[in-house]
Symmetry: C2
Subunit: 311 residues, 2 copies
């Protein structure tokens, strides 16, 4: 059949003829990266969310990579406390809004009489923690390639495997790309504990940057969330308990027996391959394309993350 | 429960306190637009796609608005021919790729022996028709509000209800926002007939602009496509017939009996309300938000479209 074009990391079209100047696609560039440019993700930075099996009895597992310092560490710390307390076991996916978010947590979280008690040791974060103050770090070469400006910030770039935006003063913050995981909150000054989480399942809602904490991204299994039926209540909230997909468990990978921990790695955003990958994403010259765009927004250059076979 | 923020057109949070300066949300601005600023969509510009019922027996209908002149009229013309020939009846959704597209058409379309014969009267379009040459038209006031530049073009704006990008020379083309519908094709110089269509179900793949024809947008029912299971084959193609959701029919609304035609209207992008709506999307000051972004990308300002009660 005729194709709409493939995503960056998919295989080249099976029927693509070999062109005289065979320009590699972004996916091919990534696939050829040397092993040394792949950075292992620590087990303590991986959350494994297991939903109930689907209608055909198949396991549904979502893997989330937590953000490293200096981003959102208060909320990430709380998430570790909640995961170690097995707090999300028995909670559910509570909301799925098309072209926006899938959200999960305690369906009764706002009902003082029924809310599931939170574990001890959770911190309360200030709004100032949405943004990281200026700090000095090697400037990624991709800064010059992603374009002079970002609509939502003075600049956008990649740092240690993550898409970030920044201001002229050097402060930075994570950005709401597809698959990023954030912290549900009530109105300001509430900043959320981390008990209520969501992931982006549509066009990047960048207007949320700096207004809500981002704590990670889904690296595998997002389809188990993005393909859920949309809620019919306001904001895509599920109106009945039966509509909610139950969460069996959320565990840090470091809490699993060593032999059961999934292993993942991401392509270093400070390496040569990533710079070529960004350039290829911004200027598609591989067989399917006719007119290179000449630029790309930071959320249209997903950082490659892949599962590694168990040792 | 704590909320991730609501989408532009959703109701304000039920629990939002009334602030001293009660700033309307984008959705509230739109809801207050005078009737005269809503533009009726002609029945011949609406495609009604009916899928087989879901597992609970509920009807699944997707409504697509076709683009007006001067955009993509060759392909739009072919789509009318195909719809009048009832060509899609019995075809299927053939591919769903996460954060990318849902695609439909003849699963055997590339098999000369099995492909469903196409109706007579289909045109073949040239690649030059992806872009509309410069023409003079009232410049929408929103041009100054959406920002000085777009990553993928010299500028992005709205014209007669549609998001478009353009070059300095005045040429324009439609853009691949969420829900936009495009024409599957093989490698250049093939431009596709319109028999194979897709819609965007993830972050706007703007690198496709000018490389493939856009012919419309889903205005209702996109969840019936975006929530489908993802295909497990390469590029999200369904590998078995059982995975494909069958299409019962695709009809132009103008072909339905007058009493059965759904009616829709869009908010004029040349009116005062739309300009205020864009500004509010770019600078969220309503209760949930703390830091206005100061800008918005063209795909983060969805043009409001609403169903109108039958007469």
């Amino acid at each position: 059949m005729r194709f709409a074009p493939h995503a960056a990391l998919a295989l080249a079209l099976a029927a693509a003829p070999v062109a005289a100047a065979d320009v590699p696609s972004p996916g091919e560039i990534v696939a050829a990266a040397p092993a040394a440019e792949w950075v292992a993700i620590a087990a303590e930075d991986l959350l494994i969310m297991t939903l109930t099996p689907d209608a055909k009895g198949r396991t549904r597992r979502v893997v989330i990579q937590l953000m490293p310092a200096p981003f959102s560490q208060g909320w990430v710390g709380n998430i570790r406390v909640l995961a170690k307390a097995h707090w999300w076991d028995g909670t559910a996916v509570t909301r799925v809004q098309d072209n926006y978010v899938a959200q999960w947590g305690d369906p009764d979280g706002e009902d003082a009489a029924k809310a599931k008690p939170l574990p001890a040791g959770l911190r309360t974060m200030a709004e100032s923690e949405y943004v990281v103050p200026p700090y000095h770090d090697g400037e990624s070469v991709v800064r010059r390639v992603t374009g002079p400006r970002d609509f939502y910030a003075d600049r956008a770039t990649f740092r240690q495997g993550w898409p970030v935006a920044g201001a002229k003063d050097g402060s930075t913050w994570p950005v709401h790309c597809y698959g990023m995981v954030g912290v549900g909150r009530n109105l300001s000054p509430d900043t959320g504990t981390g008990a209520e989480l969501y992931t982006v399942i549509g066009h990047a809602p960048r207007h949320l940057d700096r207004n809500i904490a981002l704590v990670g991204r889904v690296v595998e299994g997002i389809e188990h969330l993005s393909s859920l039926p949309r809620g019919t209540g306001p904001l895509g909230v599920y109106e009945t308990a039966e509509e909610r997909t139950p969460i069996v468990s959320i565990r840090l990978a470091s809490e699993l027996p060593a032999g059961e921990r999934p292993r993942f790695e991401y392509l270093s955003t400070e390496g040569a391959t990533f710079a070529r990958y960004v350039e290829a994403r911004a200027n598609r010259r591989d067989a399917f394309f006719i007119t290179p765009a000449g630029g790309a927004d930071v959320c249209n250059v997903p950082v490659p993350v892949r599962r590694v076979a168990a040792r």
